[in-house]
């Protein structure tokens, strides 16, 4: 009986037409202390990239440094906004602000020290990057970072403006 009920639940979930995922709503702080509802993140109908990173995560920093190299060009061509969400916990969340000030990153930075947004986005390991189209629907995501992955993101961004 139990198994049947569980199976019924799964079936009911799976047979639903899966709609595109939108950005879940979690309240986070930015570096100025303002509260931001992630569900209300928008970019005037242009794409949004959400990238999970941490000050202790080397590939995450490599990824965001690579994005920074092209950010100006990407913004011009696609209007994209990159939101970098730090998953540093209470041990290292205070390191984010000085790191950002010295890094030259121009992304919107959000702090997720309790991992609430990370869980809501089903992120298991950082870096994990999500691309949302101008309607706020998830169109692409990628786990981990290797040198050159930014080119794949760029190709995906171009698909959205074609």
């Amino acid at each position: 009986m139990k198994s049947l009920l569980i199976a019924a639940f799964f079936l009911s979930a799976i047979t639903l037409d899966t709609y595109a995922q939108s950005i879940p709503s979690v309240k986070l702080k930015d570096l100025t202390g303002a509260t931001i509802d992630t569900g209300a993140l928008e970019n005037d109908g242009n794409p949004i990239v959400i990238c999970f990173w941490a000050t202790w995560c080397s590939p995450c920093k490599r990824e965001l440094n690579a994005y920074m190299d092209y950010y100006g060009d990407w913004q011009e061509e696609t209007g994209v906004k990159i939101v970098a969400v730090s998953i540093d916990d209470s041990r290292s969340t205070n390191r984010v602000s000085p790191y950002i000030m010295s890094s030259g990153w121009e992304f919107e930075i959000l702090l997720d020290p309790a991992g609430d947004f990370k869980r809501a986005m089903q992120v298991m390991n950082a870096p994990h990057t999500f691309l949302y189209n101008g309607k706020g629907n998830l169109v692409w995501s990628h786990n981990s970072y290797a040198d050159g992955d930014e080119e794949e993101l760029y190709e995906e961004l171009l698909k959205l403006v074609d």
Binding site: L5, T18, S102, G104, P113, E152
Partner: protein
């Protein structure tokens, strides 16, 4: 299980009723993680084979969201758990389930079942998970988040917390109740709305209930155990542009426990920090003193079991494996006084010293000492243990960690990073090794390079060396401290966006015991496609220490095959 079924029946019913009003049928999201290890005996590194010959940890979170409603569960499987995981995690079943209704418009968010929650910095309440380490103290009860006005956030939690997993969720004995209020003054006072100065005071209160009883001390002293233990924190965060400061003062009433030797002293903590910049130099200074702040939902448990709060370690979380895993510092949970200072400087792009792409530098200093205390004598000593004389530093060093990093991109195809670190580590304060008792003095040198070899292909290498100081035995002979000197070489080749191979060799070339001068060679390869990742590895895994939230756990050496699959959808 009945509760679980009831949960989802409710969820499906609710989603059905909402369906009638809206056209969206809802969204299913989730993730899956599978870790399989097979073991071989390797007497050289002390790797043993458990009776099951293999370990298997898997879990999957499945969530269903329909408008403001969401519900989900996590199915977990430990058949048997991999080495180094809490061995009593066993069987398969539901380890987490919840239903939630949240309406940001009216500022109400209710969760029933399991949830994770942190109040402020977590020094009073932090329920969290680190599945890779087997850490999970999820709350199980009800959480209410209210935002009656813009700028006012109220959190209320009531429940038990996860202790264990035995084919189902096993909660610890105590009941936890908490309230947290945070007010953003700028959002409620119109005149401050656009001010650069932003002030956010906060208050938290957490109380636990556990049935009491008596304890007998010194054969004749019968003491009653407190059944309700409360703690509270006053805190504030102040922002001025990109400058930020914060302070938190926490108190907790007497809480005799296995951690503190069942003394009746009250707990206190004071933490403050400041970050900002002077021109291009950015900084962080942080000071913290915690005294007797171990807080568990079961007073008789230790280590990883049933912590209500979390006292973060003062040292920086290191990324290079010799720096991160041989001497990881964990807060001394019964009390310590600590300081951290960090400086960051960027040599600008195009400048003479900075080069074409700029150069990043950082200097990080962190230290922790024992508390400044005086032991009490007589009955006071038995009941209260000690008294703290000041918020300052005691005489005994727990850790001192200084590291300098420099990072530079030389061309479009080549970048490099170097780090030097000096570490003085008291293995009596944080017992990460049984081979040496006292202060280990270690120097660590790291060089990391990355070369783009072709379009979307790159080779990354790390060269790391750790050397330890010397000590003299009773006969006057000199030995290297602890396990002596280590070297690590990492080579990783990636083909973006799908493939990678990695070879890591850790070599304990300076072990005072010549037989233990072993290479730990480990190779892995993997495939990534979007948010799905598969990696297969084979080799020797060194025994290691994982430290989280003030406690450490030893992971034994092992040898064999490892398969990891993660996916989110």
């Amino acid at each position: 299980m009945k509760h679980f079924i009831a949960f989802f029946s409710l969820g499906i019913l609710l989603s059905g009723s909402v369906d009638a009003q809206e056209t969206s049928p809802g969204v299913v999201s989730g993730n899956i993680s599978v870790l399989f290890q097979s073991y071989q005996e390797d007497s050289l590194i002390g790797a043993v084979v458990p009776p099951s010959k293999s370990g298997f940890n898997a879990y999957s979170n499945i969530n269903y969201t329909q408008g403001n409603f969401s519900a989900g569960f996590r199915y977990e499987s430990y058949l048997n758990s991999v080495l180094g995981f809490p061995g009593r995690f066993k069987g398969s079943g539901i380890g987490y389930r919840y239903a939630r209704w949240s309406d940001p418009e009216i500022g109400v968010d209710v969760t029933v079942g399991n949830f994770y929650e942190t109040f402020g910095s977590g020094v009073l309440l932090r329920s969290y998970e680190d599945r890779n380490l087997g850490l999970d103290n999820a709350m199980d009860g009800v959480r209410l988040l209210l935002s009656p006005l813009d700028g006012i956030n109220v959190k209320m939690v009531y429940g038990k917390q996860r202790l264990d997993f035995d084919s189902r969720l096993v909660n610890s004995e105590g009941i936890i109740r908490g309230l947290d209020v945070e007010i953003s003054l700028n959002d409620i006072i119109p005149a401050l709305k656009d001010s650069k100065l932003r002030v956010i005071p906060a208050y938290s209160f957490v109380s636990k209930f556990q049935e009491g009883g008596n304890i007998i001390k010194e054969d004749t002293l019968i003491l009653e155990l407190p059944e309700n233990v409360a703690g509270w924190e006053y805190g504030a965060t102040i922002h001025y542009g990109m400058w930020k400061g914060g302070i938190g003062l926490t108190k907790k009433i007497n809480d005799p426990s296995a951690d503190n030797g069942y003394i009746y002293k009250e707990g206190e903590a004071l933490m403050y920090y400041l970050t900002g910049n002077i021109k291009d130099l950015t900084f962080l200074f942080q000071r913290s003193t915690t005294d007797n702040m171990s807080f568990r939902s079961d007073r008789d448990l230790l280590l990883f079991d049933a912590p209500i709060n979390n006292i973060p370690a003062i040292t920086k979380p290191h990324t290079y494996n010799l720096a991160a895993t041989l001497y990881p510092y964990a807060t001394v949970i019964n009390g310590e006084s600590s300081f951290r200072g960090e400086l960051y400087y960027n040599l600008k792009r195009g400048s003479k010293l900075g080069g074409k792409y700029g150069t990043k530098m950082s200097l990080v200093f962190a230290t922790a000492y024992s508390l400044d205390t005086t032991n009490l004598s007589g009955v006071d000593g038995v009941v209260y243990g000690y008294q703290r004389n000041s918020w300052g530093f005691g005489d005994s060093l727990n850790v001192q960690d200084i590291s300098f990093e420099i990072e530079r991109k030389f061309s479009k195809t080549f970048k490099a990073k170097a780090m030097y670190m000096n570490l003085i580590f008291n293995t009596l304060a944080t017992p990460v090794t049984t081979d040496y008792k006292g202060l280990v003095n270690a120097n660590i040198y790291v060089l990391e390079t990355q070369i783009r070899t072709a379009k979307r292909q790159s080779l990354r290498t790390e060269f790391q060396v750790l050397t330890t100081g010397k000590w003299r035995d009773e006969e006057g002979e000199l030995f290297k401290q602890d396990k002596g000197d280590w070297a690590t070489v990492v080579a990783e080749y990636t083909w973006s966006p799908h493939w990678f191979v990695n070879v890591t060799d850790q070599y304990n070339f300076g072990n005072p015991n010549i037989e233990k001068r072993v290479h730990y060679l480990y190779g892995s390869a993997g495939y990534i496609n979007g948010s799905h990742r598969l990696s297969v590895g084979y080799g020797k895994r060194r025994e290691g220490i994982f430290c989280v939230g003030g406690v450490c756990r030893a992971v034994p050496a092992s040898s064999g095959l490892e398969v990891i699959f993660t996916s989110s959808f």
